[in-house]
């Protein structure tokens, strides 16, 4: 899903490739890019499930306004993944209601 070469922008300035954890699985993303961009590039669509009906939600506005893409990041719930930069080793978890799934 990453754009390798763009006709106008050519390449995208990106940080180094780093590992992070998504629901325990190891994925890779670019340091400093939004967590949501790294997840989309890795093919992850569902960021959370709503509390009452368990409906899936993902990226919607991508600029930190709608809060649809919030997840549990390093144990903290309701983190807007579209505007939170990815760091190496981050623990990113699908959010159910306002918490991660009990393991």
């Amino acid at each position: 899903m990453r754009i390798k070469e763009h006709p106008i922008l050519h390449t995208f300035p990106k940080g180094v490739t780093v590992p992070f954890f998504f629901d325990g699985k190891t994925l890779e993303g670019c340091e400093g890019e939004p967590i949501a961009a790294a997840l989309r590039a890795a093919g992850v669509m569902v960021h959370r499930h709503t509390s009452r009906f368990g409906q899936p939600r993902g990226i919607f506005c991508a600029i930190g306004r709608c809060t649809d893409c919030v997840m549990v990041v390093d144990g903290k719930p309701n983190v807007r993944t579209c505007i939170t930069p990815l760091r190496a080793g981050m623990q990113v978890q699908t959010q159910y209601g306002v918490s991660a799934k009990e393991v």
């Binding site: 899903m1 990453r2 754009i3 070469e5 763009h6 006709p7 106008i8 922008l9 390449t11 995208f12 990106k14 890019e33 939004p34 961009a37 989309r40 590039a41 669509m45 569902v46 960021h47 409906q55 899936p56 939600r57 993902g58 990226i59 919607f60 506005c61 991508a62 600029i63 930190g64 306004r65 649809d68 579209c82 505007i83 930069p85």
Partner: protein
Amino acid sequence: MKRYELIVIGAGPAGLSAAIEAASWGMKVIVFDENVRPGGQLFKQIHKFFGSKKHKAKIRGFRIGDTLLKEAEQAGVTVQLKATVMGVFNNKEITVMMNDQIEHFKGDNILIATGASENMITFPGWTLPGVIGAGAAQTLMNLHGVKPGSKILMVGSGNVGLVVSFQLLQAGCEVVAIIDASSRIGGYGVHAAKVARTGVPYYLSHTIIQAEGEDCVTGAVIGEVDDHWQIIEGTQKKLDVDTICLAVGLSPMSQLARMAGCEMIDEAVKGGLVPLCSEYGETSIPGLFCAGDVAGIEEASSAMIQGRIAGSVAARRAGYILDQEFAQKNADFQESLAQLREGMFGAEKKGKNLSHTDEGIPLSLTLLQEGYINEAEIQRFPGFSETISSETKTKGVYPVIECTQNIPCNPCQDACQQGCISIGDRITSLPIVTDKEKCSGCGMCVSSCPGQAIFLIEENYEEDYVAISLPYEFLPLPQPGEQGLALDRSGQAVGSAEIVKVRQGKAMDETAIVTMKVRAKYAASARFYQQLEGCLSGGSTEALAMKGGELE
């Protein structure tokens, strides 16, 4: 509490322009923005802007963003990022959230330049992952280099829907369709046409009925609507898409102005609730200004001028500019702004079903309904009719300008060093090819046209063949000698094409000029080139057979 002569809220095109203007006169200015990067939405705008030279026409949005940031730095503007303005209170005092702390500032003047937010429409399945705003698509692909999806349905045919559709194609996505509940395409015809010629279909008078999928979008159902916006039974159609992009308008983010107690007005043509503003952008509260989309939805070009106006008014009030100097400056700004508001898409004519251009030429109805101009209609426009004639055997090369709506734009006139192209003083007039004999074939008009509506035709390139030069902004770039398909304005293959020349250069700013050789009978119809493999929407030689074209 810190005090500034001008506090700007929002570091987008309006806010930065105001800050630069005020600071360049010597004012002490600070700009607050909640984002990690300044520039607002400018860095997602990778297309060339419309307007004239003074409106930065033919320059891509992100380059304008770079220039603004440099100017802001030179002018000594402080831009405080990750700073959310939470409230605007009496006496022009504001509270700002920075590093999880609230700080208090006072401005002699305040400019609210918070921009707009995207509108949404609801339908079954609209909350599924894969349904995104058009702005989200731009953010993912143009800032972060990630494709928002593979197969996209665009809902909305305004300029945002059209421009983002083109950008999705540039990013390597397939745009399956563009739909709009309206019976007419809302954005510029030239934006619609450059998407249509790649083969993307338009469904006007169509709305989205449902997004399908369990965990994410796996398809969409659309249907035709009647005059009362009700689905006509039997018109439902299923589209194989994984992403649904909503481009259904913008609303001013005027909450801060309202909170401050500005007199507000709900105006459909401005996109919703906006503060009542003077010609300087000053609200009902003296010293509190608004500029850009927050004061009424327009383009970034007008936002920048509105910002300049507010910045210079603040500087005059504080005594940094003499009255006479201000008067001259303001007159220039106002004239420049008025130019951008002229034409078919300006506030006065917006939403009206016009039938003719200012010149009295009937508008192309296929352009409004299907996104491209049909061959019979193009004949009546001045950029076209004065050139191609099947009777005379013209020698040499000349431009064909397929610009058929009155929009404020004139880079083609400036681009032609030979003086072949004329728009005149009124920048919304349709361009005319005044003297095709003078054309040197340099192609600067082709690459400078933000609407990608100019082509060069060389008749008698070879016996029974013409050479057509067209703007091309996709990868992979065709190579000379390559064989492919010539597509017409609707994206249908008309015949085979051979690439004979590919030009690129700094002045063309990433708009390559591709010259293809086609049979002479396609001189008036072939307007795009499709590679046989790995091309835009997955076309192939079979596509030609399917489309009923002939391969020679």
